[in-house]
């Protein structure tokens, strides 16, 4: 079955160039970089260091040594927050300032730090998903040890003003962490320009391998490791290095940098074609998230009166998502959409479009056609649509609390 994949926020396929780069390390060059008594280890070490350089170049770091390899961005996010909290453990009643639409890797970590006595402060975001900078500033005080703000959101694609947050962080002399997972390879990211002290990277979100990622840790920033044992990665993350994964991650970073401009403008065109098509052909389709300050590959639309999963079922042949792939094991509607004030029924009607390298105009046209006919068909079945036509406001309607 020839599935058209449009769920690139959940994961991306390996770029064939990346797989090519990995293959030697999956076969003959299998050495452990810690083996320093024979060439196998030496070659592995060289490969790992090359990857470090490729990553440093992608994010504008001043030295490859500032990259710490991890098993992914979930670990990187945990290491950033927990590592900094533990490094500041003498500080009484420390707080972290963040926002409510961070990825669960940040929010759940924050929750567990809360139990250890760290205060988590959420700065306001507006209905487009953008952080309120004034409120952000007000939330920072002398006990703030860390700011953590995502570069871009995985559901609604909103790109935060990290540069401005960086200036605020610098003014208040507070460390700044950003989860750049969704941004890398899609928009320009630069740790020096934006005063970023810590930055999380994931391989599989940028056409690299699953199970590998990294944390940029600016020189001079001290953090306590989560994983001990042997002192790999400047003592910040022990464990035998995942050489093929790291090589793949490095190659993915190289390609991300090389193709950034071309691919992001191509995706922007596709995205706008899809958005325009939806606006023209489907009434009462509402864009979730900021209209312009968003990733070139993201759209998130609420198709009012139609339940999202039913719509996905109708769009068989397309791999799409109703919410964040990382958290949608419950029947809860998306916490991100809730946080920006999307009414429940519209949240349940929302679809995320995550475009990527393999997508093209023909696929967008095909998708528009499917969406148009499916939304029409499902609305004809929808009691909410009837109510709406009768002028009843679904948001304020008093539904009984059934099951």
């Amino acid at each position: 079955m020839n599935l058209i994949y449009m769920d690139h926020h959940a994961t991306t396929p390996l770029d064939p160039e990346v797989l090519d780069a990995m293959m030697p390390y999956l076969t003959t060059e299998f050495g452990n970089p810690s083996s320093n008594t024979h060439e196998m280890g030496h070659f592995a070490r060289i490969a790992v260091e090359k990857s470090r350089t490729q990553l440093a170049l992608l994010i504008g770091a001043s030295s490859p040594d500032e990259i710490v390899f991890t098993s992914g961005a979930t670990e990187a996010d945990n290491l950033a927050l927990k590592g900094i909290v533990r490094a500041f453990k003498e500080r009484s009643q420390p707080n972290i300032v963040t926002i409510a639409i961070e990825h669960k890797a940040i929010l759940d970590t924050a929750k567990s730090l809360q139990k250890e006595g760290v205060e988590i402060r959420f700065a306001k975001i507006d209905s487009s998903g953008l952080v309120d900078l004034d409120d952000f500033k007000r939330k920072i005080d002398a006990k703030t040890i860390l700011i953590s703000i995502q570069t871009a959101n995985s559901e609604i694609g909103v790109v935060q003003p990290v540069n401005q947050i960086g200036k605020i962080a610098r003014e208040h002399n507070v460390l700044l962490h950003t989860d750049a997972v969704q941004a890398l390879g899609r928009i320009d990211v630069n740790v020096l320009r934006d005063n970023i002290d810590l930055l999380s990277i994931s391989g599989h979100k940028m056409y690299g391998p699953k199970g590998v990622g990294g944390l940029y840790v600016r020189k001079g920033v001290r953090l306590v490791p989560m994983i001990d044992g042997g002192g790999h990665e400047r003592g910040m993350r022990s464990g035998t290095l995942n050489v093929p994964g790291i090589v793949g991650l490095g190659k993915a970073a190289e390609i991300a940098k090389r193709d950034l401009l071309a691919e992001s403008s191509r995706l922007t065109l596709l995205r706008d074609m899809l958005a325009l098509g939806i606006a023209e052909r489907i009434d009462q389709a509402k864009l979730n998230g900021h209209p312009t300050r968003r990733l070139p590959n993201n759209l998130n639309f609420a198709f009012a009166y139609v339940e999202g999963e039913a719509l996905l079922l109708a769009c068989k042949g397309f791999a799409l998502s109703t919410g964040s792939a990382c958290t949608s094991t419950s029947l809860q509607s998306s916490y991100v959409l809730k946080a920006i004030g999307v009414p429940d029924h519209l949240a349940h009607s929302s679809i995320r479009f995550g475009l990527g390298k393999s997508n093209n105009e023909d696929q967008i046209e095909l998708l528009l056609h499917k969406l148009e006919t499916s939304v029409k068909r499902l609305r004809e079945m929808s009691p909410l649509y009837d109510m709406a036509k009768e002028g009843i406001n679904i948001d304020n309607y008093q539904w009984p609390h059934s099951h």
Binding site: A310, E380, S382, P383, Q398, H403
Partner: protein
Amino acid sequence: MDVWENYTEKVMDHYENPRNVGIVDNANGVGIVGNPACGDVMKLTIRVENNIIVDAKFKTFGCGAAIATSSMVTEMVKGKNIDTALEISNKGVMEALGGLPKVKRHCSVLAEDALKAAIENYKKSLLPGRPEKSAHELDNHKGNVDETVHTAE
């Protein structure tokens, strides 16, 4: 929610070609259950004549399973005596569909509830002093079947 491989062919058939979509003309029983906040609303209208359900239709906002169970339940009740119809359980609906994924079982409960609400609504309409209402005015919900709930502001 692993729907893709877990929906039976019957479910997919009822989702793709739902039976009895719409509102029954001259309905004398209606049940609306669910809540858009939970992602499902089912509206079942029936026409009862001589205690026999002569027609049944649905409108559903919900996932594929919600649509399929709605469709199946309308098929199952048509031609049935209302007392026999009340014996239809969510399990029966699921069985008729060849099963549902675990996370989707609540949809069959919803379908059972909608049916019961519609029949109850029909029965109440027979009580003395209550003129038969039009299908639209009859809208009601599980738990407060007798109240007018169109309190939209």
